[in-house]
């Protein structure tokens, strides 16, 4: 297959993992924000990476390696969406923004979840980098065909 396709695939994978890390960092930064008087609190973001519609590996292999550009169909598409969970309520009656029952509404960010997703995104990013390096090594080795003499 076209060596340019393999680099594009790894690049899209790296992009998605970096977006995951960025989103986790953003969630962590907003972890202790409080629901203001207007009622809007921070909703944690999630990266949703979905397979494209017609990306079935079996049919693509059946069409053969010459189907140009079909490798690009296998890369996922990415969306960043806000979750809809309820806020985290903490009992702090002396807080200036406490409601009538004395509860303060914090953003529903779980630091442990964000750290875990950041670590797994880092590992996936490294795996994508290693895939790209391997693809480059293979292509350079293919250029050595016939120069053994």
């Amino acid at each position: 297959m076209n060596y340019a396709d393999s680099f594009a695939i790894s690049a899209i994978g790296m992009n998605i993992e970096r977006a995951r890390v960025d989103v986790a960092a953003l969630n962590l930064a907003n972890a202790n924000t409080v629901q203001g008087a207007g009622g809007q609190s921070y909703q944690p973001l999630r990266v949703i990476a979905q397979v494209r519609d017609d990306a079935r590996f079996g049919t693509m292999v059946g069409r053969g390696l010459d189907s140009a550009g079909s490798m690009a169909q296998l890369t996922p598409s990415m969306q960043v969406v806000a979750t809809q969970g309820a806020s985290r309520m903490v009992y702090e009656p002396s807080h200036p923004l406490a409601n009538a029952q004395g509860f303060v509404a914090y953003a529903a960010v779980d630091p442990a979840t964000e750290m875990v997703s950041m670590m797994s995104a880092t590992r996936a990013y490294e795996a994508n980098v290693s895939a790209m390096n391997t693809a480059r090594t293979l292509a350079l080795r293919a250029l050595d065909i016939g120069s053994g003499a």
Binding site: Y3, A142, I145, G146
Partner: protein
Amino acid sequence: MTAFLPVEALSSLSQQAQAMVSATNAQTSQGVSPAGNDAATSLSSSLTNDGFAQMVSQGLSKVNGQLIGSQVDLQKLAMGDAQNLHQIMINLEESRLSFQLMMQVRSRLLEAYQDVMKMPV
């Protein structure tokens, strides 16, 4: 030096080979005794004449086709349409080797011809 050198080399080799074969054919047909097997010898000699010349020119056109195919592959690589890098390299190496083989065959044929021509009659 024109760029048609490989192609012209191929066609001149084909003409040389055909000249060689027709020269030896003329000698053998002169040496055959007129009594008896004229038809048979002329038939067999015409068969070998066509067979050898055909074989040589078929080989030459095959090598030429391989070389042109590799050139077109390289042009596609330059334009960014490369589909299969290893396939391009393999075809390039195959065409180079068959070209080398053809040059060796040509040298041997010419050597053999010159050896035959040097023989005192």
